[in-house]
């Protein structure tokens, strides 16, 4: 089966320090990603690792400085206008902040009907209302009549996020990039949002790229699928979710898992923390030479890890790691 979406050698650089500066910073570098229809890929990493940039590149909002973004095999930046329009409809994004992803001066009806009218999915108001009610029911905002004339500020965070999901569904997308969809939602309400997204996959075969800093929700969401760990602009490990979490390979993944607190006192208090070489968190402005993780890595080998950057290699079937410990 061919890939639905593929990122090949994608890098994105930003100019730093004013219009005439010559300094560039790579927000992401040499990203390789592929996703088949009906699959879920979680992109996990901490703030500044480039996961949001990767998401925006996948969705076509940002043009990569290098590399290709292929949708159904075609490079989106070389597509003809109508091909790109199709891609645009097929690939949508959900943002993190339910408070700023809805236009505060428009009602739910206006927000959801705009794309429906624009793309001639409905012809008149009655059709629009019925379609919108359908969508609201899909995201568990029932009874839909109650929500249709509300303004965003009259809805709770969880309700807003559902309206956002309903909005992405108006164009019947094949792939949704969800950027931290539940980070700003109360803990006890997260599961319902994630379950709605998973339901949509069952019903309509939507594929997902799920971006988060929370390994635990990633574990839940991309269960039976794949997970990629990002650090300072690059992917350091990628593979099946359960394997990556139960048997991590890359030192950074190991460090993450050992530092993750768990809602179980006995477990979390007896967890062995991995000691890192340095407590400093490097910034994208000064990415370390060689392996990005080497200043903190307990397995650091002088002369090797600080010289060249390890590439993502397949060490087992479907398991990839960028680390010199594992390079042949």
């Amino acid at each position: 089966m061919e890939n639905l979406l593929e990122l090949r050698d994608v890098s994105k650089a930003y100019r730093v320090g004013g219009l005439l500066s010559r300094i560039f910073v790579n927000a992401i570098e040499d990203i390789q990603l592929e996703l088949k229809a009906g699959e879920i890929l979680s992109l996990v990493g901490e703030s500044g690792c480039g996961k949001t940039t990767t998401g925006k590149v996948a969705v076509g909002l940002i043009k990569p400085t290098r590399g290709k973004v292929l949708y159904k095999g075609k490079d989106i930046w070389s597509m003809k206008k109508h091909e790109f329009k199709d891609y645009r409809k097929d690939v949508q994004m959900i943002h993190q902040d339910p408070y700023s992803s809805l236009n505060p001066v428009l009602t739910v009806y206006q927000i959801l009907s705009s794309p429906l009218f624009r793309h001639s999915i409905v012809q008149n108001k009655e059709q629009a209302i019925s379609k919108i009610e359908e969508l609201l029911e899909l995201v568990d905002l029932t009874p839909p009549e109650q929500y249709i004339s509300k303004y965003p500020h009259q809805l709770s965070g969880g309700e807003r996020q559902r309206v956002v999901i309903a909005r992405t569904l108006t164009l019947n997308p094949k792939l949704i990039v969800a950027d931290e969809p539940v980070s700003m939602i109360d803990v006890s309400l997260r599961a319902s949002i994630l379950n709605i997204l998973l339901d949509l996959k069952e019903k309509f075969g939507v594929s997902y790229i799920y971006i988060t800093h929370d390994l635990l929700t990633a574990k839940y969401f991309s269960k039976d699928y794949r997970l990629a760990i990002m650090y300072l602009g690059g992917i350091v490990e990628m593979g099946r979710t359960d394997k990556t979490i139960n048997d991590p390979i890359h030192p950074y993944t190991k460090a993450l898992l050992s530092a993750l607190p768990e809602p179980d006192p006995k477990v979390t208090r007896s967890k062995k923390t991995m000691q890192l070489r340095s407590l400093d968190v490097p910034s994208l402005l000064r990415v370390p030479e060689g392996c990005r993780f080497h200043p903190r890595c307990p397995f650091f080998k002088e002369g090797v890890c600080d010289k060249e950057r390890p590439r993502l290699v397949e060490v087992e079937k479907d398991r990839f790691v960028a680390c010199f410990l594992y390079e042949s």
Binding site: L189, I193, V267
Partner: protein, 335 residues
């Protein structure tokens, strides 16, 4: 609240706080009774709107004057023979009390450092502002030792500007700042929210260390149950402005008695367990301007009965040191 009277350091009695909004009065904290023991680490856990931040701010009487009102209750700081009611303090007395007896690290504190002042000047400002009568040399010694305690290189940090430090470092500076006047109690409001996992672990370790070294009493406010699992002695679960369950850490995690606590535990995904599914709590938090009658959790509670809709239950003891506010006599598991 049977915490030993001899070792209590803070006693909150019948505290109620309201915010004045155009739509009506928002009952943010309702009739909270809480005793804090000297040297313990108490976690106030709850989701947004539960009232935990408001409670924390009230302990230091830091509420915005015109927007919030303490309706009733006392916050008693117990020092040997005398009891000081924070809610009665004003002006100079209040200023002298704060930071010296109880201090606070606020949410997003690491962003409240003055960007155009060096760290050492900001720390020195705090010492001066609270009238600590020590020489400049002694002040610097103190600053250095505190920075060391939070694992920062004092030489490097003191001369830096905030933007030169990472988020985690700034947070540690804020923690050091809150300890400058040697308080007995430190309140921390979501101190690790904006930080990444590795840095968070770091900060937690730092906090554990200073707690044991200085024998500090810590009140930790968070929505993250996992942090409580890591560090709490006791946990108070807050919902709709009041404490619905309070007990020792193992009691709360292993035999929760309030349906909300149990549901909360079920909604958090775990790393190492066979529990594959997480469940949301149906419905949403109540409107605290017009809260429902009776138990505030009843609209979402799977065990609700007639009485839950009419009268609000008070905290009652279910085990030694373990209290819950629920009419049902169940053990928090599904029927």
């Amino acid at each position: 609240m049977k915490v030993s009277r001899l070792t209590q350091i803070l006693s909150i009695r019948g505290l109620s706080v309201e915010y004045l909004t155009p739509r009506g009065n928002l009952k943010a904290v309702r009739n909270v009774n809480l005793d804090v023991e000297k040297g313990e680490t108490l976690f106030l856990v709850g989701e947004s709107g539960a009232g935990k931040s408001t409670l924390g701010l009230t302990i230091l009487k830091l509420l915005p004057e015109r927007a919030a009102r303490i309706i009733s209750g006392k916050v008693l700081f117990l020092e040997g023979e005398r009891n000081l009611d924070v809610t009665e303090l004003k002006g100079e007395g209040l200023r002298r009390f704060r930071w010296k007896n109880i201090s606070m690290v606020f949410q997003g504190a690491m962003n409240s450092l003055n960007p155009i002042m060096r760290i050492r000047d900001q720390l020195y400002d705090v010492i001066q502002a609270h009238g600590m009568k020590i020489s400049k040399k002694e002040a610097y010694e103190r600053m250095k030792s505190l920075l060391d305690m939070v694992k920062l290189e004092s030489d490097r940090i003191l001369g830096s500007y905030p933007h030169q430090l990472s988020g985690g470092m700034r947070q540690r500076v804020m923690i050091a700042m809150s300890l400058l006047l040697d308080p007995k109690i430190i309140i921390l409001d979501e101190p690790t929210t904006a930080l990444d996992v590795l840095t968070q672990k770091n900060i937690m370790n730092v906090l554990k260390e200073i707690k044991s070294r200085l024998n500090l009493t810590m009140i930790f406010i968070t929505h993250d149950l996992s942090l409580a699992a890591e560090m709490a002695d006791r946990i108070a679960i807050m919902y709709a402005g009041t404490i619905v369950e309070i007990g020792e850490v193992n009691q709360i995690f292993y035999h929760p008695r309030h349906p909300y606590t149990a549901a909360l535990l079920k909604s958090v995904p775990r790393l190492s367990s066979e529990i594959e599914s997480i469940e949301s709590i149906p419905g949403s938090p109540p409107d605290m301007i017009n809260p429902p009658k009776g138990c505030k959790f009843h609209p979402r509670c799977p065990y609700k009965h007639e009485i839950c809709m009419l009268e609000e239950p008070l905290l009652k003891e279910v085990e030694k040191n373990h209290y819950t506010a629920c009419w049902m006599d169940n053990d928090g598991k599904s029927p």
